[in-house]
Amino acid sequence: MTADYKLRYAPEADRLKAAASWRPPEVAFWLLAVAAYFLLPRHLVLLSRVAVMGLFALSLDLILGYAGIISLGHAAFFGLGGYAAGILAQHGWGEPLSGLVVGGLVAALLGFATSFLVLRGSDLTRLMVTLGICLMLFEVANKIRWLTGGADGLQGISLWPILGIWSFDLYGRTAYGYSIIVLFLIFLLARRVIHSPYGLALRGIKENERRMHALGTPVVRRLVVAYTMAAGMAGLAGALLTQTTQFVSLDVLSFGKSAEVLLILVLGGSGTLYGGLIGSLALIVAQYLLSGISPEYWQFWIGIAFIALVFLARGGLMGLAQGALALLHARWHGRETPSRG
């Protein structure tokens, strides 16, 4: 955009542009995600779960980390998307991509419908309302056994190959490739939203809602859109889980799931886009390693890690990483400055 440089304050714009551009650690992250497919062929099932939970946490980051909406019932959308995709496949339509879209749309619809309840009131009200909606959905799914399989879970899900080419295999090769591509595309979308004027308005609402009213922003309308988007993304994550594991049970709608995704996001660092992905990787890998070492008591170590992290690293793992990068940066430039002679 050469026209911009006719503007007097082009350097100011350039600085914002630089802040929004791709950085080397980001590129490295995604390259590693691709490399994992080739380097860790025996762990692709586990890594698929990392990608799915990462997408789920990314959706929570959009409302919690950016818009400042706290939720203890985000699993409602994850679970609904999961069941929608599962029921569709069980009833004979096993085409994965359309199943994924249906899962996302159904969850987005629920998000839109419940947003008007959730966005009323304070943080505490929001906690209770989101929790309540999720509990209700859990019991509904438990009750309508004819559709959901109740406590036994949904059996007999069979999926067609993706685009008619890649069929799902036992080693998680297709599952991982599929999950990571969907995650990347949704991540790109989320990144774009965050750097848009709308994304800045969301940050504004989180930082000072009162001022946003005074700037003339229709705050509730902005939040409804964010909540709907996040619900849709959570629905995609749920559908992805169902499709890659070919199973769905009540667990996806449980309070534990809502709590887990919140923990993942806080562990990774909210409001950073990558926090959910890093947190998901850290938690699932830690669970895997610790349950190998100490099969009965691994949750004890997870608990300690959480407490240590909250006290030692504000901003989660992303905060820790950013601090380390800043330190390295300072060291590097410190060495380059000739002032010490």
């Binding site: 955009m1 026209a3 911009d4 503007l7 007097r8 304050y9 082009a10 100011e12 714009a13 600085r15 914002l16 542009k17 802040a19 929004a20 774009r192 939203v193 750097h195 848009s196 004027p197 709308y198 994304g199 800045l200 308005a201 940050r203 504004g204 930082e207 000072n208 009162r210 001022r211 009213h213 005074a214 700037l215 003339g216 922003t217 229709p218 705050v219 309308r221 902005r222 859109v225």
Partner: protein, 250 residues
Amino acid sequence: MAVVLETRNLMKHFGALAVANDVSLTVEQGARHALIGPNGAGKTTLVNLLTGALAPNAGHVILEGVDITGEPQHRRVARGLARTFQVNQLFPGMTPLESVALSVAQQRGATGHWWPRLARDGEAINEAAELLDRLRLLDCAHKPTKTLPYGRQRMLEIALALALHPRVLLLDEPAAGVPEDESVELYASLAELPQTVAVLLIEHDMDLVFRFARHITVLVAGSILVEGSPEEISADARVREVYLGEADHG
């Protein structure tokens, strides 16, 4: 002079307490209008009634001939009614450039747009930077707002409102808490505001009021006591008694 903002018989009660009692006020185009009165006179309440943060029990608010009494806050801002706050209402984690760019984006109706990239909108950022430059804030454009000195934050408070291209600007004690030399500088910036903007100012500091305002309304216990030019107000015996008199004793 044409009237841009007007209230007609505005009433607001908090329980038995009348905080706005039959207030009929007119603000003219390009006005430098000050609203003064002792603590608890209902000045900030009046601002909240004008902006729509509070709903009146009776009466009307009219902006450029349109009755906006029932309109929500954001609609009034879109019509050109902007305000600042007595206690800073800023975005602590954002930089001044981001904050003002947000305000500019809102003025352009862009905060609903989630596809375009803000950083590529050179014109909007240019406008934000230009405003920061005009208010002598450009040198801290990229620092987090919460790290700025208080006086700078007060200026940013005004910048956010100015970016909305207001027809009427409501300034709620813009110099509150600012050291004296800086408040003079702040008012020097306010004096440079274009004549297309009508300013309704709430201010405690009488020196600043008399330096800036060309028209003064005195509010006491929710009612208008008297209004007129600075000369008339300073000569008015009732005003001296209820308001300026306090300073003599104090």
